[in-house]
């Protein structure tokens, strides 16, 4: 109670200081806090660049081809600046394209720590070469890379088909680094050559002959004199914030053409439909991690996270473009016709119908280099594998984190936590985690506890442990500047804070008032941060306490666009260069801390708000501060689908909506939707009335209980999906087109989705809904209503009448899904419970599925191969379980309790066969639903067995 007032006072203080966004009751984002393309000088410069022929030309004489790498200089004929192009053919049907200045004045930032390693290459070979360009082979099939010299363009072709063109519209742009006009050119050229010599010491790529260098330099200087200065190149002001831009203009741009493509996806995070829209009429999609207060829907504005990966899809092929750049980035998408941009050497190789549709994509970033991975698919699953090979897969979460999470800003004190915990038992609703937001700390000093309200955190945690439940407490990356605060003192004395442009510690305002921002880009900082999670360092922590990283865009209340100044300094780099990486590093260091505290045994769980490519390796993300509105419920589906497509499977939206108060109908619908989304957490703003599931009358409590229980029954399936996501990079929650890539009707669907391959979910997201129209895909397939077991044909739009209790879910014919139908207080309590197998027969009378079991929380599945992974197959009237992983071992107490065969027939007898012999099983057949229920096979879930129907 006291802390509420405190936080309010603080807010008032911020308001008085003219800082904290707009909290004056306006219920939508204050757009004026965030830049439009016009207000971001490089975006404006880049976007107004003409569509003339590209000034870039490849100097074929400079071409060098090693085994797997091609290098080639490009020259801008307007200013004579030379660029160095590197091309790699990567394993797994990918091409990497890097473009940097041949001799930059200073080195330009290349994103570290995102790729899991140096991507393995494959040999590149030259097919032909003439004055117009070269043709390279991309492997044994018909894949070739056609390089046109004048103007420079690249085309990737498959046989006679152009898959993708680079610089087809001539929008390659590279603002070379240059000395400031008002400084002595001698000084800057001295600095420049110093940089060169430093660079030469570390780089093997620039061991060029000195002759070429001199001509390049000469040309460059000459060119610079002609270069026009434009406003915003050397300093930029937004609202009252000045960006000093000491390095001047440095932006880059490149365009890609996708002939035959009408559907592109990805580049989260935006509050947008699954299928991306063309951006000709408005701003491009923006990727710049920002703390956006009360964000708007269907909008290209940047949000909390950024994954610069775009997927293209048509009935023939799925591809991906991964633009590895962590600076502010914008993506323009336009619709075109293929004939318009096809030119040059590629015409010798391929033809495209001139009226074929085409999608053009253009990326531009404020700094860094061009480093692009072109993932050539061709299947959706290939693209997932390709991207996973670059940036890694979803971390395998502890099983309990797939349960239900109860969060609120804030649970006020230990008694509050105890009472809410007891409330779940009283109302018989399972849950696994209760969360503490910022008020649990001593004055927003993370790693501490409020002495009055949380005097005995370990007692509280033990209380939860007694119920086999867990807790998450928030640890944000802004550190209160307070000489009495150990964390601050240590970071300061170790000199690990981000610096401002003048070299002092960067300070901004956030929850604690004045705060410093640890430089998480520094490995030493991350290592120290990780060490702070040790049980003896993080007082009051225990094994069942996990972590939530919020505000890690980073959020700076008094900074430009509520984030850090771009001229702040991280070691040798500007914040400008690393901005979109900051959040990833925070979560990386935190996850590492949770691993270390257990001696490397336990899997971590860390939720983050900001993210980047690769963040999937460190935990879960949520869609930030949404609102209790139907539109926000609806958009949670495409937002999480988009994240899943780019590797981040563990996604969820605040159930109930963060801002404002949901009515009971919205709250119930949100629980029903959240129960079928990967990360299932209810959360609410400090100012909202309480909304624990039992506060809306017995009927709504029952509806919510039922939704949560459906989630818990399906936990074995969820866990198995996450295991696959972890092994392969396949999304857990996926758009229909991923499984039905040739069915054009699925390409724009984003009000329903698949969980894995076998469950189709169409949550009710409309107020007062009487029914939903569900698209059941698959010609010749069947689907079974997961609740009534009624069978429906695929390839149809099915109208499903709904009541308040309905969650339209369908199991695909031909699948087997394991459930644990005994619902306990938490997932851990269900550990040894038996399985019920739901066998949904295909029209051919077959089905298959899997079962995956391990200890649920350690790395032993990986390090000691302690797991069970079995295939379940139904064919020829027999259901059998066979081992999928011969070299793994695990013992489970779980057994097979029951088998439901959907779409089955009545047998005369059912026999179980195991190594110990055979015996007959009881069964019952419901002719009305065609469901055969086989009682109690009783076999261990880890053993070989067969059930025969006669």
């Amino acid at each position: 109670m006291a802390t509420f007032i405190l936080s309010r006072l603080e807010m008032v203080w911020f308001l008085v200081a003219g800082v904290l966004l707009v909290l004056n009751g306006v219920r939508a984002v204050d757009r004026s806090n965030f830049k439009t393309c016009d207000q971001s000088s490089f975006c404006k410069r880049m976007r107004t660049m003409g569509l003339d022929q590209s000034p870039y030309r490849a100097i074929l004489e400079t071409l060098e081809l090693s085994d797997s790498r091609l290098t080639l200089q490009l020259i801008n004929d307007n200013n004579k600046v030379r660029l160095l192009l590197e091309l790699y053919r990567l394993q797994g049907n990918m091409t990497r394209l890097k473009i940097n200045e041949l001799k930059p004045l200073r080195s330009r930032f290349e994103v570290p720590d995102v790729l899991v390693g140096e991507p393995p290459t494959k040999p590149l070979s030259m097919v032909s070469r003439d004055e117009a360009g070269v043709v390279l082979s991309l492997g044994t099939d018909a894949h070739q890379l056609v390089l046109n010299a004048r103007p420079f363009r690249l085309d990737i072709v498959e046989g006679a088909r152009v898959l993708l063109s680079v610089n087809g519209r001539g929008l390659l742009a590279f603002e070379h680094l240059r000395p400031r006009k008002d400084t002595l050119s001698k000084i800057s050229s001295t600095v420049g050559s110093m940089w060169d010599s430093i660079k030469n010491m570390f780089s093997s790529n620039t061991q060029k002959d000195s002759e070429g260098e001199e001509t390049t330099e000469g040309a460059q200087e000459e060119g610079e004199e002609r270069e026009e200065e434009e406003p915003g190149m050397w300093e930029e002001t937004f609202k009252s914030h000045v960006d000093s831009k000491p390095n001047g203009p440095s932006s880059i741009s490149l365009d890609f053409s996708l002939p035959g493509v009408e559907h592109v996806y990805g580049i989260p995070e935006h509050a947008e439909n699954l299928r991306l829209k063309t951006t000709d009429k408005g701003d491009p999609y923006r990727l710049y991690n920002l703390d956006v207060f009360q964000y708007e829907l269907y909008n290209p504005m940047a949000l909390y996270g950024a994954v610069p990966v775009l997927l293209s899809h048509n009935a023939q092929r799925t591809m991906g473009i991964f633009w590895l750049n962590a600076a502010e980035t914008w993506v323009d998408i336009s619709a075109n016709t293929a004939g318009k941009t096809l030119s040059g050497k590629v015409l010798d190789h391929a033809q495209v119908p001139s009226d074929a549709p085409q999608t053009d994509v253009r990326w531009f970033s404020e700094s860094g280099i061009i480093d692009v991975f072109i993932m050539l698919g061709p299947k959706p699953s290939d693209v997932f594998t390709q991207y996973a090979s670059l940036t890694g897969t979803q971390s395998f979460p502890p099983l309990s984190t797939l349960g239900y999470h109860q969060c609120r800003w804030n649970y006020n004190d230990q008694e509050d936590v105890r009472a809410v915990d007891a409330g779940f038992d009283e109302h018989d609703i399972p849950y696994d985690f209760i969360w503490l937001d910022i008020e649990h700390t001593d004055g927003k000093r993370y790693f501490t506890w409020d002495a009055a309200n949380f005097p005995q955190p370990r007692d509280m945690l033990r209380g939860l442990q007694d119920k086999r439940r867990k807790m998450v407490a928030i640890v944000d990356p802004h550190i209160k500047v307070d000489s009495g605060y150990r964390i601050h003192n240590e970071i300061r004395s170790r000199n690990l804070y981000v610096k401002d442009k003048d070299g002092g510690n960067y300070e901004g305002w956030c929850w604690p008032g004045t705060a410093g921002y640890p430089d998480f880009t520094d490995p030493e900082m991350r290592a120290w941060w990780a060490s702070m999670f040790a049980y003896d360092k993080y007082e009051g922590s225990m094994e069942n306490l996990y972590t939530w990283n919020d505000m890690n865009e980073p959020s700076v209340f008094n900074g430009p666009e509520v984030t850090m100044h771009k001229d702040a300094i991280h070691g040798t780099w500007e914040h400008r260069d690393v901005h979109n990486l900051y959040g990833l590093y925070v979560q990386m260091a935190t996850a590492e801390g949770l691993i270390q505290r257990s001696g490397g045994v336990e899997r971590p769980f860390v939720l983050t708000r900001a993210f980047f490519a690769g963040s999937q390796r460190y935990g879960a993300v949520w869609t930030g501060d949404n609102a209790a509105e139907w539109g926000h419920l609806k958009i949670s589906i495409p937002m999480c689908l988009s994240l899943g497509l780019v590797g981040i499977s563990f996604c969820g939206a605040d159930v109930g909506g963060f801002f404002k108060n949901p009515g009971p109908e919205l709250l119930v619908r949100w629980y029903q939707t959240g129960a079928y989304q990967p990360f299932f957490r209810a959360h609410a703003h400090l100012d909202t009335p309480r909304r624990e599931p039992w506060l809306f009358g017995p009927q709504n409590t029952a509806l919510i209980r039922d939704a949560v229980r459906q989630r818990y029954a399906l936990l074995p399936y969820w866990y198995q999906l996450f295991y696959h996501a972890h092994r392969t990079g396949e999304p857990v929650m996926r758009p229909l087109w991923v499984e039905y890539p040739q069915d054009v009707a699925t390409f724009t669907i984003d009000d329903q989705f698949l969980l894995g391959r076998h469950l189709l979910v169409h949550p009710v997201t409309e107020q007062g809904s009487q029914g939903v129209s569900v698209y059941l895909p698959g010609v010749g397939e069947v689907w079974y209503d997961a609740h009534t077991f009624r069978r429906h044909d695929g390839d149809q739009n099915l109208f499903v009448p709904v009541t308040l209790s309905s969650i339209p879910v369908f199991q695909r014919g031909g699948s087997i899904i394991p459930r644990k139908v005994r619902i306990r207080r938490s997932s851990t309590c269900m550990e040894n419970d038996p399985y019920t197998l739901y066998v949904a027969l295909s029209p051919q009378g077959t089905a298959d599925g899997e079962i995956y079991i391990d200890d649920g929380h350690t790395f032993n599945y990986d390090r000691q191969k302690q797991f069970i992974h079995r295939r379940l197959t139904f064919a020829n009237s027999s259901l059998s379980s066979s081992n999928l992983s011969a070299d793994s071992q695990f013992t489970t107490a779980s057994w097979i309790e029951r088998v439901l065969i959907l779409g089955g027939q009545e047998p005369s007898a059912v026999t179980l066969r195991t190594a110990d012999g055979s015996r007959s099983l009881e069964f019952e057949f419901d002719a009305a639903t065609s469901v055969l229920t086989i009682h109690k096979p009783g076999v261990n879930a880890g053993s070989d067995w067969t059930v025969l129907l006669q």
């Binding site: 109670m1 006291a2 029951r898």
Partner: protein, 484 residues
């Protein structure tokens, strides 16, 4: 043999203290259960009768078949407690977690028997104090029934004693309430009498004033009103003079002895004095300053008797008032004086009527809380609860915020006087006005024991009072009856 209805058995997690159900019956049950358990020890503890209460054992006698308790199905007896759910009502698996809707009976010898949901059987959490729910032995559950029983019996007995003490106090409070109520009724009657007296006089004065005005118009203009008195010191002196017996308060007699009518030096009637003192009963210095002293300063109607005035000198009068007031001025002053007295009296009557119209409980047992405030300091805040009036929160930095004004009793129908609701406090930032819900708990003292703010700006307070005791006891008695 079985004296209680099982359906009413408590859930295991219900504690004896506040649930308002069990205690008396329980103390008896302990003995019953102990006795029964000993008698039936002959055929206990096979897997088949696990999780079944004594009352239901008869349905689970070893036979060839078992009839589901809802009659829906007959199954081989082998399938009772075989960890597979056959009966729709879950009755075949009382001892396992197989049925979603099943329940497991904790015998809890030495404590209180109860049911738990089947889902709590073998889930790694000890629910029954005898540990019988975790029979798969994966989790070790010590038998804590005896301790719990002792603790609860002690707690119950202490609580019963406290309730008895509370009841005793409550009877006194009711008695006090009766006389307070009477007193207030008398006050009201007095005031009403004064009011009608004043009204009559006012009429007369109005008439007189009209005449005086006519006269005044001819004779002279209006004099300025006198300056304000010098305050407490002079007032205290006068008060001291008037307070003949020096007991710190003025009685009607004392005022009559020292104050006379301004115009004709006549003595004042009892009613007049009461009105001048703003009500019946002796007036202390403060009240004197607020009432009679003002009249004296205004010098419109009454004055200090000449013989006393000699000692005192004029009560800090300005030159204007020293001039002999004209008859018209005097008339006007008198009229105003009368009107003010009338207003004061009316207001007092209004207040008193409001107080008297409030619901203080079936025996007016909560009347004693009227006019009192109770404080509790939490962290940096001081909370103040004034029943039937208002609630405030004062921070250590000094700002006082209203958490609500008295609205009504908000308890459930069966215990209407168990909760008080205060609404319409200071509005929250970006939100609705603050509200406070006060729960009343039986206690031997009257004190504010706990304040919470589960949702921002919605406060919950716990007030202990002997007056809440009866409700609890009634609840207990009802619980007892239904269980016996």
């Amino acid at each position: 043999m079985v004296l209680f209805k099982e359906v009413l058995l408590p859930k295991c997690n219900e504690s004896g203290g506040s649930s308002g159900y069990l205690p008396l019956a329980l103390i008896m049950q302990y003995h019953i259960v102990v006795a029964v358990a000993i008698c039936s020890a002959v055929f206990v503890d096979s897997r088949k009768i696990r999780g079944i209460s004594l009352a239901y054992r008869k349905f689970y006698k070893e036979k060839k078949t078992f009839l589901c308790l809802d009659g829906s199905k007959i199954i081989p007896f082998d399938q009772v407690n075989d960890d597979y759910c056959d009966c729709l009502d879950g009755s075949d698996e009382p001892g396992t977690a197989a049925c979603l809707n099943g329940r497991f009976y904790c015998t809890n010898l030495g404590f209180r028997p109860c049911y738990i949901q089947s889902s709590r059987v073998n889930d790694g959490i000890c629910d029954c104090c005898d540990g019988s729910d975790e029979h798969d032995k994966r989790t070790r559950c010590p038998n804590t029934c005896r301790n719990l029983g002792q603790q609860e019996r002690a707690a119950l007995e202490a609580e019963m004693r406290a309730v008895d003490d509370g009841m005793h106090l409550k009877r006194q409070l009711i008695k006090e309430g009766v006389s307070m109520w009477q007193e207030k009724q008398n006050q009201l009657k007095d005031l009403q009498r004064i009011l009608s007296g004043l009204q009559t006089k006012l009429e007369a004065h109005r008439k007189r004033k009209l005449e005086a005005d006519a006269h005044q118009a001819k004779v002279m203009g209006v004099l300025k009103s006198p300056g304000d008195g010098a305050g407490g010191k002079t007032a205290a002196r006068i008060f001291g003079q008037l307070d003949i017996n020096k007991d710190g308060s003025l009685t009607v007699d004392e005022v009559q002895a020292g104050v006379v009518n301004l115009q004709d030096d006549r003595s004042l009637t009892e009613e007049e004095v009461t009105a001048l003192l703003g009500g019946p009963g002796p007036a202390d210095l403060f009240r004197f300053q607020q009432t009679l002293w003002r009249s004296l300063q205004a010098a419109k109607k009454v004055k200090i008797k000449a013989d006393l005035r000699g000692d005192l000198g004029p009560p800090n009068e300005g030159p204007a008032t020293r001039a002999a007031p004209s008859a018209a001025r005097q008339g006007e002053a008198n009229l105003k004086e009368m009107e003010e007295a009338l207003e004061t009296t009316r207001a007092e009557i209004g207040n008193l009527e409001k107080v008297l119209s409030t619901d203080y409980g079936s025996s007016r047992e909560f009347l004693y809380l009227q006019g009192q405030c109770f404080q509790l300091v939490v962290y940096e805040y001081t909370y103040s609860l004034c029943p039937f009036s208002h609630v405030t929160q004062k921070s250590s930095t000094g700002a006082e915020v209203s958490l609500g004004k008295w609205r009504y009793w908000a308890g459930p129908q069966e215990h209407p006087y168990s909760r008080m609701e205060f609404e319409d406090g200071a509005p929250c930032w970006q939100g609705p006005p603050r509200t406070t819900l006060v729960t009343l708990t039986c206690g031997t003292e009257t004190a504010l024991k706990r304040v919470r703010e589960p949702t921002k700006c919605q406060y919950i307070m716990e007030l202990w009072t002997p007056s809440a005791c009866e409700q609890q006891r009634e609840a207990r008695r009802r619980g007892v009856h239904s269980e016996l």
